[in-house]
């Protein structure tokens, strides 16, 4: 179990590294595939089958494809020799140090506890009941935010096409 976790974690971290360090923005976008898939694998290890499937469905099937799509459309690129633009080493180093210090603090201060061995039991009923029972208000609020974002996107794209 531990080895398999390390395997998934390695896939996630290495892909994320490629996304961050690749000089080619399209390579960065495609490397997200490994990161998303690795996270889905970790969800499976945590016996969260529904969340793992939704991770693949939404992140790989939707968000990754739209990211790649957007990268291809905005760059106006047909060649493969496209590089990421960098702001310079010193600002990057400062940002990384601050973000890293904050994250390290959070990691060290959080009281971690290990989840016990969980059997693969259906989680869909529990999630459904929680969404439409105790957490119905946050669920509906999230839906309204998404709907607003959807309408906003349509309005913005229509304005652009009129000009």
């Amino acid at each position: 179990m531990r080895m398999i976790f390390v395997l998934f974690a390695a896939v996630t971290v290495i892909s994320a590294g490629v996304t961050a360090f690749s000089r080619n923005i399209v390579h960065s976008a495609f490397a997200l595939l490994g990161a998303f898939a690795g996270v889905a694998g970790i969800y499976v290890l945590l016996a969260a089958d529904f969340v793992a499937m939704v991770q693949i469905f939404v992140y790989i099937g939707g968000i990754l494809v739209l990211t790649i799509f957007a990268v291809m459309l905005t760059q106006g690129l047909t060649g493969v020799n496209v590089s990421n633009r960098a702001v310079g080493r010193i600002p990057a180093l400062a940002t990384t140090l601050i973000a890293g210090a904050v994250m390290l603090c959070a990691i060290l201060k959080t009281p971690w506890y290990a989840a016990g061995a969980r059997s693969i039991a259906p989680t869909t009923y529990g999630i459904g009941n929680a969404f439409l029972g105790a957490y119905v208000l946050p669920f509906e609020l999230a839906s309204i935010v998404l709907l607003a974002a959807l309408i906003g996107a349509i309005v913005i794209s229509r304005q652009e096409s009129r000009e």
């Binding site: 080895m3 399209v26 499937m53 693949i56 790989i60 990754l64 494809v65 291809m72």
Partner: protein
């Protein structure tokens, strides 16, 4: 499996001090991959032969009939030929992504077979989230197609890849919404659970359960044609405009991988429709022997799936290609609203009749039979004037 791997480890096949967990994990992964390949490949390959024969008849040709009985082994010959050919990678292409793309497409076509419900016992893993898994992993295809289109460094390929992404992402929405009515009625996402909730007789199929389900099934079928880049939605590989779309620069086995996945995905999406709406493997309990029952159920499932696959080939042989704006307006202006109405209508329907409405089922079945009868009458009318010996002789 574990004992066998233990013995290999004792003999030192994996080095002096192997890590057992890693060996087990990779062994099980390889075994699963082999089993999935062994199941998925013959189905996909036989579909290629069927498609070539059916097309040939539609176009008044004979089709491949030399290799094996009626050309049945043509797919083996094609595979061997493509393995032996030179694998050309263009000098200006991005070599790593160019090589990776076909494997992603094949991965997306192999993974759904893990939850394919062939019969009451013949299923690799009856996942609790089966249907969600199936729709989620087939979405990987579009990443592979985009990758192929971009890495080829060819304008035709890029346009093909981007068209494919736009098309698949759009049609995923009505297709996903057309799956939910069945989930609402059964209360489960498991493939076997959905199949068991239906009966063997057509009046207890979800296709005829309510008018909303009937509409949802038709939307799911058309959307699956679009998601598999099939005519009339084959814009990503439109031969007259884009040479071969995203596959233009590919050759040898990598080229074959794309088309194997395309034909295999026809089978997969037909299997989704059969499981959700056409009763899956359900067959009347005629024999006490479980082996005989499983064989009958396996045959039922495959015949239903092949009928859907045949209809999709028939459509490919008869319809012209739609324009891209027509395709998008069909999806966003018609299918998405209708799919939402289906979803809400089914929710209301389930709230009023939790156990289903037999009268509505029988009326819907009557409507379906009338439509089929009208269609068969037209086909017979045209068949009378055609050359019967060419079109309807199966073994020329």
């Amino acid at each position: 499996m574990e004992a066998w791997l233990n013995r290999l480890m004792m003999r030192g096949v994996f080095g002096a001090h192997p890590i057992p967990v890693l060996v087990y994990a990779s062994g099980i992964a390889i075994a699963c991959a082999l089993v999935l390949f062994a199941i998925a490949l013959p189905f996909a390959s036989i579909v290629t032969w069927v498609e070539r024969r059916v097309w040939a008849r539609i176009q008044s040709r004979i089709g491949p009939n030399r290799v094996g009985p009626n050309g049945f082994l043509q797919w083996l010959a094609d595979g061997l030929k493509h393995i032996c050919k030179e694998d050309i990678i263009p000098a200006e292409a991005d070599p790593r992504l160019f090589k990776l793309a076909p494997y992603l497409v094949v991965l997306a076509f192999i993974l759904p077979w893990a939850v394919m419900p062939f019969s009451s016992s013949l299923i690799l893993a009856d996942l609790n989230v089966g249907i969600l898994y199936m729709t989620a992993v087939t979405a990987l295809t579009v990443v592979g197609v985009l990758m192929a289109g971009w890495a080829s460094n060819n304008k035709w390929s890029l346009i093909g890849g981007v068209r494919s992404a736009a098309q698949v992402v759009s049609y995923e929405i009505p297709a996903g919404l057309s799956i939910f009515p069945v989930v609402l009625m059964t209360g489960t996402l498991s493939m076997q659970g959905i199949t068991r909730a239906q009966g063997w007789s057509p009046d207890r199929w979800f296709l005829f359960a309510s008018p909303f389900c009937f509409a949802a099934a038709i939307i799911l079928f058309v959307a699956s044609l679009a998601e598999n880049n099939r005519t009339p939605f084959d814009l990503p590989e439109a031969e007259s405009e884009l040479v071969a779309g995203f596959a233009t620069e590919y050759s040898s086995m990598r080229y074959l991988f794309f088309f194997m996945a395309e034909w295999g995905n026809m089978f997969v999406s037909a299997a989704i429709i059969v499981t959700l709406y056409l009763g899956g493997w359900r067959f009347p309990h005629v024999s006490p022997s479980p082996i005989a029952m499983n064989l009958l159920e396996f045959a039922t499932f495959n015949i239903k799936v092949l009928i859907i696959v045949f209809v999709s080939m028939w459509i490919r042989g008869t319809l012209p290609r739609v324009r891209i704006d027509q395709m998008m307006s069909l999806c966003w202006k018609y299918f998405v609203p209708i799919a939402f109405v289906n979803l809400i209508g089914t929710a209301v329907w389930v709230a009023i009749w939790p156990a289903g409405n037999p009268f509505a089922a029988w009326s819907m079945l009557a409507v379906g039979v009338l439509l089929a009868a009208f269609f068969v009458r037209r086909v017979v009318h045209f068949a009378r004037r055609s050359r019967m010996e060419l079109y309807f002789h199966p073994t020329i």
